[in-house]
């Protein structure tokens, strides 16, 4: 038996979680949307799904105590990826897809921040 309060170890875990499948769908849909031409709506939707489920699973498993912090982190990562693609490569449309998703996730992070700190 491992010490009860250790983070992320199995005895504290719930035996079921709804998040893995949405997370996988997010990965798959966004990969397809990004690689193939002309599927940018898939890219945006997939990235949103991915962002939502990463935030959800982190919160559920106790790796994050809030929803807004991981959301802000993901917005930053997507934003950086989008900027990199837009500026550094010819894949500007894909860069915009990342950037647009980052804006939506950032807005969600702000809303969550207000909600979770009781300001809303």
């Amino acid at each position: 038996m491992v010490e009860q309060t250790e983070q992320g170890l199995s005895d504290q875990y719930a035996r079921a979680s709804p998040w893995p499948i949405p997370l996988v769908l997010g990965i798959v849909v966004s990969e397809i949307g990004i690689v193939f031409d002309g599927l940018l709506p898939l890219a945006v939707g997939g990235l949103l799904l991915l962002a939502g489920s990463v935030v959800g699973i982190l919160r559920e498993s106790g790796f994050a105590e809030t929803l807004y912090r991981p959301a802000a982190g993901i917005a930053a990562v997507f934003g950086a990826a989008g900027a990199g693609l837009y500026v550094g490569t010819a894949a500007t449309a894909r860069g915009l897809a990342f950037g647009g998703t980052a804006v939506v996730v950032a807005a969600a992070a702000v809303a969550l921040f207000l909600y979770e700190t009781g300001r809303l």
């Binding site: 038996m1 005895d11 504290q12 979680s17 709804p18 893995p20 849909v29 990969e31 699973i57 105590e65």
Partner: protein, 578 residues
């Protein structure tokens, strides 16, 4: 264009809403009270209503229990095995006569590609993960895997991976991927079909899955062992899974990167592997730097299964346990130093060839150490020829032929003649089916009482063994013979002089197909109505002092007040008490 993206956007919106609705039904949102209201994250987890699993089908879609996930992996591996097997039976039917009579070359090539990739990535690796997931936590006295959610994510990446890999067969309007499992450039760059891109994406997903699984196994074996399980008493299967996971960790990310480079070459105009501007041979180096460790990724855990099961029915402990562990580790290290033995005929520097030949010959030594240890374990033992034991012995027989032919191929002058002939096909099939397949079958019989509470039908299991053994040796010996005769691999047609050997190979293949039906029937029917197991020690392991932790878990499980449903659905014994 505009309307199609509108449609896509709407579809995406519908998907997102559907997922959100499903989540809202499953997830108790109120447990996420705003931070200002609660003391801390850990306090609230006890109120969290997830002690028991949801019932019905939802349980399988939300489970993070290692036993459930093991069963999911097993079901998935069985499905993939069925597709890979049907594909190869079609191919062998075509090869029953020299001309193209049944299927054309294009379909043959598509099936060949799908068979190889399916068996290695969608059957082999997941089936091993099935055993690892179900039994490693039990063998080492852990409650679950170290990261149960990552475990579930790793599994669920596989079904979309398979759909993408098989997409060429499911979308009638596009040509199948015909690159063979090695995806050699420049062919794989120039083949126009989107099925190739989807296959690469699917492979990428399964690679991510394997890597996540490997990290999980490493973390579990390092941190979750029970108090009484120190390194010296770690069982042999866990040792091989640990080594295998290390190999995955170093090789699969490399495959992932190479796949992305290939995708970029195909779709974005980069020139990593093109003839002008890049180097097609670079692909071969990257692929085989992954590919050779991959064959050991596939063979080490089955070796562990045999090392675990064979002593149980020999009435004595594994001979030279320590040396079996050392040879596992040695194989793990050496397997990264032999990749160019797949490239002897590509015109690489002869000095490089010689050094890769030396390391390839050296890797046969730890493999032989294992073989001698298995044989010595059985020597003068009290053998009980149960189905799992028969499959272990079959493993040893097939592994010897597969290994010895590998040593021949590792010698440069021999390989220059036999490369790309059926000899190579015979060599690796003795191992991938004759050894790996056999060990996995042994595992399903050995633990059948534990995960079903019932016993399989012995007669059917023995028929399965003998037909599988005869079938595999017929087919793969005929392939070695074809190789000596100079029959090149990967062709849908051949010269009439090869007729007899090809017909023997086809007959053997169908015998293996039939043998698998015996297995499938036995598994399904005995799971539902086999005789119930009477004790927690169905193999009488206590007699020879080999009652391992997995069986004592099972024994306790049977005696716990809650009636056990050990297909993974049982409530963990009074977990809520603490």
């Amino acid at each position: 264009m505009a309307t199609s993206s509108l449609v896509l956007t709407v579809l995406m919106g519908v998907l997102l809403v559907a997922v959100a609705a499903a989540l809202a039904r499953l997830e108790d949102w109120r447990s996420y009270t705003p931070l200002s209201d609660v003391g801390g994250a850990l306090g609230e987890r006890t109120d969290h209503g997830h002690e028991e699993k949801p019932g019905g089908i939802v349980r399988w879609f939300t489970t993070v229990d290692h036993k459930d996930i093991g069963i999911l992996y097993g079901a998935y591996g069985t499905l993939a095995f069925a597709w890979g097997g049907l594909a190869v039976l079609l191919m062998r039917t075509e090869l029953a006569a020299p001309a193209t009579d049944v299927i054309g070359p294009a379909l043959y090539n598509g099936l060949l590609t799908s068979h190889g990739i399916t068996m290695l990535f969608l059957f082999g690796t997941p089936m091993i993960a099935a055993f690892g997931n179900y039994f490693i936590p039990l063998l080492i006295g852990a409650d679950d895997m170290a990261f149960p959610r990552i475990n579930a994510i790793a599994f669920w990446l596989l079904p979309p991976g398979a759909l993408l890999i098989w997409s060429g067969f499911m979308i009638p309007s596009i040509a199948t991927a015909q690159t063979s499992w090695t995806m050699y450039t420049p062919l794989s760059i120039e083949m126009a079909s989107p099925a190739v891109d989807m296959m690469l994406l699917g492979l990428h997903l399964t690679g991510v899955s394997a890597t996540m699984g490997a990290i999980n196994f490493i973390a579990t074996i390092f941190t979750e062992r029970g108090d009484d399980v120190g390194w010296p008493s770690l069982d042999i299967f866990s040792w091989t899974m640990l080594t295998q996971s290390g190999l995955i960790l170093f090789s699969f990310p490399l495959l992932g990167s190479a796949l992305v480079m290939l995708l970029l070459d195909r779709n974005f105009g980069t020139t990593f592997f093109t003839v002008s501007g890049g180097d097609p041979i670079l692909w071969q180096h990257l692929f085989w730097f992954f590919g050779h460790p991959e064959v050991y990724i596939l063979v080490l855990p089955p070796m562990g299964l045999v090392s675990l099961i064979l002593p149980k029915f020999s009435g004595r402990k594994l001979f030279g346990f320590k040396f079996v562990v050392y040879s596992t580790l040695a194989i793990g290290v050496l397997s990264f130093g032999v990749w160019a033995h797949h490239m002897f005929t590509t015109g690489i520097d002869p000095r490089l060839r010689a050094s890769f030949m030396a390391v390839s010959l050296a890797i046969a030594i730890p493999s032989a150490v294992k073989v001698f240890n298995w044989i010595t374990t059985m020597w003068n033992g009290k053998l009980r020829l149960t189905a799992p034991m028969l499959f272990c012995i079959g493993f040893v027989q097939n592994f010897i032929i597969g290994g010895v032919t590998g040593v021949f191929l590792a010698a440069v002058p021999v390989d220059l003649i036999l490369h790309d002939t059926y000899y190579v096909v015979g060599h690796f099939h003795f191992i991938v089916y004759g050894a790996i397949g056999f060990a996995l079958f042994a595992g399903t019989y050995y633990w059948f009482p534990m995960f079903t509470n019932r016993m399989y039908q012995k007669r059917l299991a023995h028929i399965h063994f003998w037909t599988a053994l005869v079938g595999s040796n017929l087919t793969f010996l005929a392939m070695l013979w074809l190789g000596y005769g100079g029959m090149p691999r990967r062709y849908a047609t051949y010269l009439p002089q090869f007729l007899t050997a090809h017909q023997i190979a086809t007959a053997g293949a169908f015998l293996m197909g039939v043998s698998t039906l015996f297995w499938l029937f036995n598994m399904v029917v005995s799971w539902r109505e086999g005789p119930r197991v009477e004790s927690g020690d169905p193999w009488n392991l206590e007699q020879t002092d080999q009652f391992t932790k997995d069986w004592s878990w099972y024994d306790q499980q049977r005696e716990s007040p809650v009636p056990a449903v050990p297909d993974g659905g049982e409530p963990e014994d009074d977990q809520a008490a603490d």
